[in-house]
């Protein structure tokens, strides 16, 4: 209490002498980058530029889906994007199907080396000119992520502070903490399968026939061994069976409000 009063007294004394510039600056309003997911955009207006966004969630919680959606929106808005992929998990085929313009994406593959990944992120941010930089730490174990020194995050935030670059960090657990201006926590809510589930449920009581092809899923197969492969336009086939998943977002920042939103991710239809 005494310290708080002293702080006020000092600030008032300084402001008399030096004016308002001595006072702590208030929060800025950020320009934002649309995510392409209406529910998230309604919640947070998109990802803030000149700031760090943290996307947290467990495996299969929808983090990569959000990542692909944001990248698709950014690359097709003619923004140059960079992806620092620590675990080398990025799949170009699904990215192309998500609508990402791959020639506007700089992909840096760091072979599970955390230090190299952070140095690479620093190089990319210092270079400037990137609309969106993503640091994919989704496969970094929580105990390793928590050990990352805060000075890296402060450095990154300082680097992009007055630039139109948005930095998004994807991880299993919160590690950016106070340096992030927006923090989204994703949870897996439910799955919608095709009739494969029904087949499986009856498996315990009766012999299960080989799953049939479902016309509505528009499956395309390359032929069996020994047959000439059929030409197919889409390389991804089996994902059509996983028709959708519902994901839940708990917005954790700003702390004052923490609404929740649900959105659905879909499989690709040809």
């Amino acid at each position: 209490m005494r310290a708080a009063i002293s702080k006020k007294e000092i600030e008032s004394a300084l402001s008399k002498r030096f004016g308002v510039s001595s006072q702590a600056r208030g929060k800025f309003s950020f320009e934002t980058l649309t995510t392409g997911i209406a529910e998230i955009d309604e919640l947070s207006n998109g990802l803030p530029r000149s700031a760090i966004t943290e996307i947290i969630g467990a495996t299969s919680s929808g983090r990569t889906s959000v990542l692909l959606s944001v990248l698709a929106q950014a690359t097709w808005s003619d923004e140059v994007c960079a992806l620092i992929d620590i675990g080398d998990r990025f799949d170009p085929a699904s990215a192309a199907h998500a609508g990402i313009a791959l020639d506007r994406l700089l992909w840096v593959r760091c072979a599970n080396n955390l230090e190299r990944a952070f140095k690479a992120t620093d190089l990319v941010l210092q270079s400037g000119g990137f609309g969106l930089v993503i640091l994919d730490m989704a496969d970094v174990a929580a105990q390793h992520a928590r050990r990352i020194v805060s000075s890296w995050w402060y450095r990154f935030r300082r680097t992009i502070e007055h630039t139109p670059t948005a930095l998004a960090v994807i991880s299993q657990t919160s590690c950016v903490r106070s340096c992030a201006s927006l923090s989204l926590e994703l949870k897996h809510y439910s799955l919608a399968w095709s009739s494969a589930r029904k087949d499986f449920e009856t498996a315990s009581t009766s012999r299960v026939d080989r799953p049939k092809r479902f016309e509505e899923t528009r499956l395309t197969l390359v032929g069996d061994l020994g047959q000439q492969p059929e030409s197919c336009g889409s390389a991804l086939t089996h994902t059509l069976l996983l028709r959708s998943s519902d994901l839940q977002i708990n917005q954790r920042k700003p702390i004052a409000c923490s609404p929740m939103a649900k959105f659905r991710t879909h499989t690709i239809t040809a």
Binding site: S77, A101, L105, T267
Partner: protein, 463 residues
């Protein structure tokens, strides 16, 4: 003062040699940097300022004479037999060299004395700027008048020449008198963009080499700047102590001429590919191109500066490896995970930006993302009634992949390239796994059974 070198021998006459041999121009440049190539067999040098070599003007002493002999001797070494003439007037030297053998020195004011006996047929009308057809007319007229020599033409009254032959006649008379005034049309050598240096001591460390490269690059870029050119390719040749060469090349996506950028790129490259032994000589060559034109605008999207981006890409390549940085490009095949890394090029990206964004993205909803394991994880999968029921991934750190499969969709068979040795064939499943350890919720992943060796793998997870 001017010196004219006229090559007598027709068979050995070489003005522009493509076989790398010495030319008349090369001979002339060994004596003066100001050279005019008047014709295929005649060059004129301006020796003004070359006092140390040719002696002090206007003294025609031993210096000029000995230097003229030196020119003939060097020409002989080049394979030419030449006449040399020295005078205060370039056209006088040309006429003297073409018509008088050996060395001719014409003192100032004595041009008519030396040239007066030459026939008018030896007059070079092109030196007076007279067109060919007009020159023919003038020759006929002079022949009709009975004018045979330079001296006779020179002594004709100026007024009469002007009235009868016009301004061309006046210029012709001045030419005959050796009093014509004109500037030399100098030969412009093609600018060379190469800088080289031989080192006094061999250099092994990068830091002293950086000073040497900086000096050469500064001069190279200054030469480019002077010619309003840039470069998009630089080659560095280092001669090593063991008499071998170590060569590196940098190719740039856009023309540049910033020496600091070039220096950083070279240093990063040399750090990745150091020479095996010490360096004794360095040569840098630049390929000149027109600089890029850039027009800024209000609505041009944000993009990295090409110079900064090039440096960043070089640093990233040094950090993670050249093959780990770039843009992914899908290959035209159905093989799983078929892509290649290509160089990140903003210009290529911009060309495709005219696509209709709405058509590309469409009204598609958010697509499920997939995270691929490279290499795929080996797994032990228990099959129950033809369907996977339990999965156990051998990588001990990934506990989430050890559990019960609560839902499975498949198998979906894919295969291809059956005509090649690396043919693939597999049965794929989408499964939801509930981990036996920890509080992990369902993990959606794709597993497959490799039909070539009957092993199970986890290809990746849906996220």
């Amino acid at each position: 003062m001017f010196v004219c070198i006229y090559c007598q021998s027709v068979s050995e006459k070489r003005v522009r040699s493509d076989d790398g041999g010495e030319t008349l121009i090369d001979l002339a440049f060994t004596f003066s940097p100001l050279v005019e190539q008047t014709s295929a067999d005649t060059v004129v040098l301006d020796i003004e300022g070359c006092d140390l070599m040719f002696g002090t003007n206007p003294v025609f002493g031993e210096a000029l004479g000995s230097e003229a002999d030196a020119i003939r001797q060097r020409a002989a070494a080049f394979g030419f037999k030449v006449n040399v003439a020295i005078a205060a007037n370039p056209d006088a030297t040309i006429h003297a060299a073409r018509n008088i053998s050996g060395v001719t020195m014409i003192p100032i004011g004595a041009e008519l004395t030396c040239l007066g006996k030459l026939t008018v047929a030896a007059l070079d009308y092109s030196l007076a700027g007279i067109a060919t057809d007009r020159a023919e007319e003038l020759r006929e007229t002079l022949a009709l008048w009975g004018v045979r020599t330079f001296g006779e033409l020179a002594r004709l009254p100026l007024k009469g020449i002007a009235q009868r032959l016009g301004p061309e006649g006046v210029r012709l008379q001045k030419l005959a008198q050796g009093k014509s005034e004109r500037q030399l049309v100098l030969v412009q050598l093609p600018p060379g963009f190469e800088q080289a240096i031989e080192l006094e001591h061999p250099v092994e460390e990068l830091e002293p080499l950086s000073f040497i490269l900086s000096r050469l690059l500064n001069q190279l870029c200054a030469n480019l700047n002077a010619q309003a050119l840039a470069t998009n390719e630089l080659r560095l040749r280092m001669k090593l102590e063991n008499r071998t060469q170590h060569e590196r090349a940098i190719t740039l996506p856009v023309p540049m001429r910033n020496p600091r950028t070039f220096l950083r790129l070279f240093l990063l490259d040399i750090e990745s590919h150091p020479p095996p032994v010490a360096i004794v000589a360095v040569t840098i060559t630049a390929e000149p191109v027109k600089p890029r034109g850039l027009q800024t605008g209000l609505f041009i999207p944000l993009a990295p500066e090409p110079e900064k981006l090039e440096l960043t890409l070089a640093r990233l390549a040094k950090l993670v490896g050249t093959d780990k940085v770039g843009s992914p490009e899908l290959l035209d095949t159905n093989r799983p995970d078929a892509f290649q890394m290509k160089r990140f090029d903003l210009l290529r990206g911009r060309k495709k930006s005219t696509r209709n964004r709405q058509m590309a993205l469409g009204n598609r909803p958010c697509v499920i993302g997939f995270r691929k394991f490279r290499p795929p994880w080996r797994a032990k999968v228990h099959i129950m009634q033809g369907r996977p029921s339990q999965i156990n991934v051998r990588e001990a750190d990934h506990c989430a992949m050890r559990g019960t499969i609560v839902c499975a969709s498949g198998p979906w068979r894919t295969s291809g390239d059956w005509w090649r040795k690396d043919a693939w064939a597999r049965d794929e499943w989408d499964v939801a796994v509930v981990s036996l350890i920890g509080e992990q919720a369902e993990v959606l992943c794709r597993i497959y059974r490799d039909l070539t060796n009957e092993e199970w793998f986890v290809e990746g997870v849906y996220d």
